[in-house]
Amino acid sequence: MENLIALLVAAPLLGAVVLLCGGRRLDRIGHLLGTVLAAASFVIGAVLFVDMLGKGAEERTFTQHLFSWVPVEGFQADVGFQLDQLSMTFVLLISGVGTLIHIYSIGYMEHDERRRRFFGYLNLFVAAMLLLVIADNYLLLYVGWEGVGLASYLLIGFWQHKPSAATAAKKAFLVNRVGDMGLSIAIMLMFTTFGTFAFGSVLPSATDASEGKLTAIGLMLLLAACGKSAQVPLQSWLGDAMEGPTPVSALIHAATMVTAGVYLIVRSGVIFNAAPDAQTAVTVVGAVTLLFGAIVGCAKDDIKKALAGSTMSQIGYMILAAGLGPIGYVFAIMHLVTHGFFKAGLFLGAGSVMHGMNDEVDMRKYGALRKYMPITFATFGLGYLAIIGFPGLSGFFSKDKIIEAAFAKGGTEGWILGGVALLGAAITAFYMTRVMLMTFFGEKRWENDADGNQPHPHESPRSMTIPMIVLAFGSVFAGGIFGVGDRFLKWLEPVTGHAEGDSPVSAMTVTAATMVVLVIGVGIAWAVYGRRPVPAVAPRGSLLTRAARRDLLQDDFNHVVLVRGGEHLTRSLVYVDHTLVDGVVNGTAASVGGLSGRLRKLQNGYARTYAVSMFGGAAIIIAATLLMRAV
């Protein structure tokens, strides 16, 4: 049974290889093949899941060792898998949502002549992501980690003819590389500390290591997480990543890949537990991003960018939770899963809307779409309710728990974090309501697109709507299924461990508070966007709004400091290399040449000059010999 684990990765990987190397002859069936293989790994996952449920909590960790990867003296890197409850959760999420999005893409990418390749990339992503979550050591995890980075690069830049897409892809990869730097340094630190980097040997012995080292490792892991999960300060790529096809945004930049950071931190929980400072750093990053993303989400008129901001903010919640330690791990993952459902659903909805609107993304050019695409409206609406944490829907359970946990952290820290979390909830409610209103309610504000053809919105084909419906179900019930009776808690506890914090405020109060802020947020949004018509062109807006529209200016910062600075640096270095490093050498050669030129002038053709030099030479030699003797 355990030997099936490898197949989880193998199936989609096979798909990727076949589709990418297969050539045009696969164009017709390519998308089906890809979908089938993605589904296959979901099935395998399900089978393993069932098998796992059948076992007791303690033997629920499956392992499979394939071969020794890099056997070098004192350095053992193996290709081996470890499938425990945590990994299993991810496996199901990834392969499940992944399959749905494959199906969705069949319709969405119908008219793209490079659809085969698209599915190849999707499969590649699924394979890499699965590898990431079932690897049994950090180095192999790193492979998956970069693998998803590559897939994300390829998919963001899928429409390479658009320079913006290519640039966005490059940006994403580079920013992620910065994070990867952190991961690799973390691995090196583990190697020098523990002499290995396999989960099995690092995590148990983590507590032996000095706190200083653990903090260092933790911070490096955090850096990695920031890169992959678009957390401040490495969040800048996520917004641009929306250049990619919408299914990609749904799968990679909402449901799965961006949550890899959370996985990494929760997986390395033991290390963080022993390194409080690192944990604090994590919570701070989470909290900041939470607000950052939310604020950005409020200002964007591009529906996908707005959702991207929300994603950032939601992952902020997860990171925050993960930073809280044992009291938060489970809820981080729980929110991650529920978020996977409703955010994927929302994105697919957005995609469906764009599909009907000639790929128009500006919400100010939407409006009143609920009549035209009812299914989309319904599913999107459910996702909306879920994310703002409407009681009973999945978002409610997971987010609520995180806020509780934040308070439970205790002390001023707890108050601050809890407050931030609450505030975030309010803002979430505001911007999601805003999106909802601008898109589906109000007057219709459509315009002819660039090619001048009138958009006539219509419901998307079944291949697209079905996944949306399924996800909508997920976003409605997942929370309940997990939350009620702490099922999810019990399921994960053996891996992550769990602790009850001593919350200064009771759970009920927190829930109540959440409800209040929720209402406030929705209310404000209604006041602004619901009561009066939405202007088709964005008003200038307050300073904050304008800043938020520009991702709070941090992109400009990057541009000025990093891009420009880098350009200047390289240009000056090229100059230095040419003039200085090379110049020295050429200079030497030139000077020797000059010397030669001057010396040869002595050879002036006059025999008497030659005689002089001989005579002088003889004289010098005589003098020298005598001197030698004299001294």
Binding site: R600, K601, Q603, G605, Y606, A607, R608, A611, V612, F615
Partner: protein, 99 residues
Amino acid sequence: MNPVNYLYLASLLFTIGAAGVLIRRNAIVVFMCVELMLNACNLAFVAFSRMHGNLDGQIIAFFTMVVAAAEVVVGLAIIVSLFRARHSASVDDASLMKL
């Protein structure tokens, strides 16, 4: 009389000859200066021969003269042909090749 004086004289002659080689332009004269240097050597040889009381020096002197004669033969041939070609026996005019 101190035999060293002969040596001084020889050196003097040698230096005069050398100086002539360095300053005179006419190839013939230069050549004569070289001959003068050779003769300076001869003087030295003879003087030393006398000093050491063996005949080697004197014999060498004869050899030197023969060699000098041979040099004259070769040298004049070359110089004369040069002179006929250029109508000038100045060593400074003979400077086609330089640098």
